[in-house]
Amino acid sequence: MTRRVAVTGIGVVAPGGIGVPAFWDLLSNGRTATRGITLFDPEGLRSRIAAECDFDPLAHGLEPELVERADRYIQFAMVAAAEAIADGGVDFGSEDPWRVAVSLGSAVGGTTRLEHDYVLVSERGQRWDVDHRTAEPQLHLAFSPSTLASVVAERFGAQGPVQTVSTGCTSGLDAVGYGSHTIEEGRADICIAGASDSPISPITMACFDAIKATSPNNDDPAHASRPFDAHRDGFVMGEGAAVLVLEELEHARARGAHVYCEIGGYATFGNSYHMTGLTSEGLEMARAIDTTLDHARVDPTDIDYVNAHGSGTRQNDRHETAAVKRSLGAHAYDTPMSSIKSMVGHSLGAIGAIEVVACVLALARQVVPPTANYETPDPECDLDYVPRTARPRRLDNVLSVGSGFGGFQSAVLLTGPGGRKR
């Protein structure tokens, strides 16, 4: 008997507005949330723009004690998880806690707090033999990203498998994928799955500066994230979190939960090519797509929308255009493919989960979110990137893909009520 995985709740903390309604309002209207960095003084950096969350943790119900103890990325995850669980109507008091799992992703974890305290203990980079006496008492919680899943599990009383996933920029897709496998394989009935990152900090901005991966378009931040456009010049850093309640389908039906859609399939492969580079052929991402469709028993021609990684670097946009063509064949030209990074930036490990939530909403509303700022076609990227304006469309099967440093190539397929091929 195959166990099927339903999505029964969603929550999101994204630039441009906290919560699902604000998020969808931004996406469906094609607005951008990219701006000059305000979280720290970016003087001296090549890229001084980002998509920041206007986030007041206390206003979103987090206790002052938690705000003091937990990094910003954990606060994001807590708020997104609370929204998803309320949305899903899950009552943990009536669930078997050993059957509740957590699978959360983060690419850089607590590096913002790590950097903050580093500055204190090193006297602003003056000493290697750092002075421990000036460190904050909660610093150890930033040391390992496992804190993320741990804090969320503790809050909601999950006692099943609790995992933090860190596969760079595919962390969010992989955390959803691992969570989906956890339910499929019978190791849990409910999984709180998603991802969070708050990477807008000097060290993370500087390390992407060093490889010129981020956009230097500091004069026009609102139009700086331009995936697939001929004039793109790198990605715009973002931050945020998204959480989904994944649930075994019969379990969801038994408690009368609203089922948004199902996780039809997931796969990931390594490209074994370069830690930051991508080939122009997209073979490995195509393999991830093919395997995902195979797992879901869905034909390439059944795909109605591709949510692209679409980071806005030249190599990515070409790589993934090639991969989607390879997997979907001629159908690729009839399939809208958009990048919400044009609006909410690239929040590293979090974005994969944010994009999955965007896909859930696209299925629910039967609307394809656009690629904002797309104006000038690049001859090497010749698919339908849904320029600037959201588009109503019949959607049954939606694919989300991602690429990450380390060579990771992942794909997740969501199937709506009409999308099942059995």
Binding site: R46, L139, S144, S146
Partner: protein, 415 residues
């Protein structure tokens, strides 16, 4: 791909980089003899910190093992992982694998802390000199996925690649993740964890762990299951395994050294060691269930052995809860008392020790422990000869995870 037949996951290769041995054979010799290598920390810039004792990997020369192109862009934790992966693949007789079937080989690592030493160097450049002094490799050396990515690239593996960035128990979860990948159809997965948490700033980050031992005498800094238990000692290093579909291993003439028979993980809250009793017992029962293994079949337990009184008591009671009367009779050991805990690397080293113990018919002792104050049969002083068919490996993490893994001795091993 396998069709419908059940695929069993075999361990066919082991590679170790540990404080008590830079190769698997030297590691086993030290473990079997119960050598305690815990010592004063000698790494640069650490001498003034109130954490004096650790398990350092000494004499490891990465430049003799790894090409310069990989060395310059990686932290010490990835150097360990690359070296251990090479050793594991050689041990499995698969040094040349992947050339013709790259998608059939995956890579999974667990990472608790990433490339701390590399990260501190780059933070120093940023804050001491300025943003333009940050090097191009910071973005790929510090993050938790570095070792999986670099193993995949260096060896040409394009199969499913994953990273479990969990607390210590994540080491066992990573092996289970790899075993599931094999069951889903990947032929071979290189899986492991190695950590390098002994750079100055990384050590400062660990000082907040309430379970950390700050005892200055190496001979009594980490004494699990005794009344003198005073916390754990951190360590560097870890191990990498080659796991593969057992039938495939047989077909190619590989030696099945053990099979991964069962695994389960639970969560009971950070530093809630009283509650870890229930969580660990639950994980043990579920792992035995998956393995189709009766409690009495367990021949040896490799304990988590955190070394704090409350945690040790919870573990001893969990064994009794989950294994019944067998829980107080089954031999228990904790080689890590002589090595320290290399976070996610620690349970990998325990798996390596468990496989070697089954092969050699010897239960290694718990170094430095003589006065056990719990109702368990802890093996101390010297190795104990025993016929070992099934081993149980336990791990708990500082952030609240509990995990149990059941290993069966391989048929390809003469015992």
């Amino acid at each position: 791909m396998s069709g419908q037949r059940t695929r069993h996951t075999a361990i066919t290769g082991i590679g170790v980089v540990a404080p008590n041995g830079l190769r698997t054979d030297t590691y086993w010799k030290s473990v079997k003899e119960g050598l305690n290598v815990l010592d004063r920390i000698t790494r640069e810039g650490c001498g003034h910190l109130p954490l004096r004792v650790a398990g350092e990997v000494r004499g490891f020369d990465p430049s003799a093992l790894i090409e310069d192109t990989f060395l310059v862009q990686t932290d010490r934790f990835t150097h360990f992982a690359l070296a251990a992966a090479d050793a594991a693949l050689e041990d499995a007789g698969l040094s040349g694998i992947a050339a013709d079937a790259p998608y059939s080989v995956g890579v999974v690592t667990a990472a608790g802390s990433g490339g701390g030493e590399f990260g501190q160097r780059e933070l120093q450049k940023l804050w001491g000199q300025g943003a333009r002094f940050v090097g191009p490799y910071q973005s790929i050396a510090w993050f938790y996925a570095a070792s999986t990515g670099q193993i995949s690239i260096r060896r040409g593996f394009k199969g499913p690649c994953g990273v479990v960035a969990s607390d210590e128990a994540g080491g066992l979860d990573a092996v289970a993740h790899a075993a599931r990948a094999v069951r889903r159809g990947t032929d071979v997965v290189v899986v492991g964890a190695a950590e390098a948490p002994l750079a100055p700033y990384s050590m400062v980050c660990q000082l907040g762990y309430p379970e950390l031992s700050t005892v200055e005498d190496p001979s009594c800094a980490y004494r699990p299951f005794t009344s003198a238990a005073c916390g754990f000692v951190p360590a560097e290093g870890g191990a990498v395994l080659v796991v593969e579909d057992a039938d495939r291993a047989h077909r190619r003439g590989g030696v099945v050294r053990a099979t991964v028979a069962g695994h389960a993980a639970t969560f009971t809250g950070a530093s809630r060691w009283d509650r870890s009793r229930e969580g660990l017992a639950h994980a043990i029962r579920a792992a035995l269930d998956e393995a189709g293994c009766a409690p009495e079949e367990i021949d040896v337990v490799f304990a988590d052995a955190l070394g704090s009184p409350e945690a040790d008591r919870a573990e001893a009671l969990a064994l009794a809860d989950a294994l019944g009367p067998h829980g107080t009779r089954v031999p228990v050991t904790a080689p890590k008392a002589g090595i320290g805990r290399s976070y996610c690397g620690a349970p990998l080293l325990d798996i390596a020790a468990a496989v070697l113990a089954m092969e050699h018919g010897q239960i290694p002792p718990t170094p430095g422990v003589f006065d056990v104050c719990h109702e368990i049969d802890l093996v101390t002083s010297t190795a104990r000869p025993a016929e070992l068919r099934t081993a149980l490996v336990l791990s708990r993490g500082l952030m609240g995870s509990n995990a149990a893994l059941v290993l069966r001795r391989g048929p390809g091993t003469a015992a």
